[in-house]
Subunit: 202 residues, 2 copies
DNA sequence: GCGATTCTGGACTGCATAGTCCAAAGTATG
DNA sequence: CATACTTTGGACTATGCAGTCCAGAATCGC
């Protein structure tokens, strides 16, 4: 049994619930996702949801964020972990765009959308989302630092704010893309942010 | 009487509902805002809501977007309308940050948050939000064009994509700010985007 | 195999909410 | 002042939803 006292079968069911619920929440929003809908999507009954997520919907949504956050970050690997050349940044950019392109039909929307919904309602969820962004931003910052250490960027390039602006470009591009129903703003925003980074090239 | 057959009194009531509802929706989200809550906030009864917004909640939310969109754009004036020098861009940047700083407590969240909630649920609302972004982006694009016409930017500066990247920086900065509960990402993202613009200076 | 624990199904409760309806009060216009 | 129209109040219904409960099936530890 796993640490939480879960059978292999139980863990599988839990996983199945999270994955299916993630798809539903990311397309319909937290408010637009009922426990019933999750039930029919996963062929599970009411009691299982509360068995695996005793605190109810809020806990489930948090699990979704954790799951989906990992998915999104994984989609950027291995580039995200070894940003150390201009070519690697370009590859990273492409992997981000490719990931959202592939999943645009089902869940066109990222976790950022949840931030808006969670802002006031669930502080715990907001904190989880903030941590997720911070992790993502940390990878980008490390990349900028590597570039600077390698002498590819000038000293004036501040890894912290550059990482913020890169992540903001991704999230802002996604917001615009979602409103327009077309992903091109994401690519444009990313290109501009990378151009900004390149303006610090030494 | 006004075009829609509204008495002065009626128009005032309608306005009162929209304004109060806007505050509530922007802090609690559309799902977190019940018609009852709007009722108590504005001291109006159920029937008035449906009298002024026969299609119900969806129509009300659309009115809120129109109202709030105007508010946000107005907060950026007069700078937004006459972006034609580096100093004016800086002033614009400050007005954006100042606006969200002033309103961070009440409605920390912008219309962009609604895009996520509206994506699947209400296509009409999504279209309204897209139009709003397009209007905002149009002002920025005009500003870039003015800069180029004045010889302050090189020919390589594409007004269209630069406007997109600037707006994406605002929206992305707001998403991060919302998650973190702190507006600094907005300022940093905007500064980076403006630095990107400045890299095209001639 | 057997007892304890985990897993699953489905019915049930209680509540919050969107939307309807009708009748009364107010307000224009001639 | 009279009539038609707009505005307002509040009760009423429908429904959909989160969360509870209990009993039965499967599975694990020994």
């Amino acid at each position: 049994m796993s640490p939480q006292g879960l059978t292999a079968k139980g863990a599988a069911t839990r996983e199945r619930i999270v994955v299916a619920a993630a798809d539903h929440v990311l397309t319909h929003g937290t408010a637009g996702t009922s426990l019933d809908a999750i039930g029919v999507a996963t062929s599970t009954s009411r009691s299982q949801l509360f068995h695996y997520f005793p605190e109810g919907k809020a806990e489930l949504v948090r699990a979704i964020v954790a799951c989906q956050g990992e998915r999104v970050l994984d989609a950027q690997r291995p580039e995200l972990d070894r940003l150390d050349s201009w070519a690697s940044w370009k590859r990273w950019r492409d992997s981000v765009v490719a990931h959202y392109t592939a999943n645009s039909g089902e869940h066109g929307c990222p976790i950022g959308s949840l931030a808006g919904q969670a802002a006031a309602s669930d502080p715990q969820l907001r904190a989880d989302i903030a941590a997720y962004f911070e992790s993502w931003r940390g990878h980008l910052r490390a990349g900028v630092q590597r570039m600077r250490a390698a002498g590819l960027l000038r000293r004036g390039a501040d890894p912290d704010t550059l990482a913020t602006s890169l992540l903001a470009a991704v999230q802002g591009g996604l917001v615009l893309a979602q409103a327009r129903g077309d992903l091109t703003p994401l690519g444009e925003a990313l290109d501009a942010a990378l151009a900004g980074l390149r303006s610090y090239a030494s």
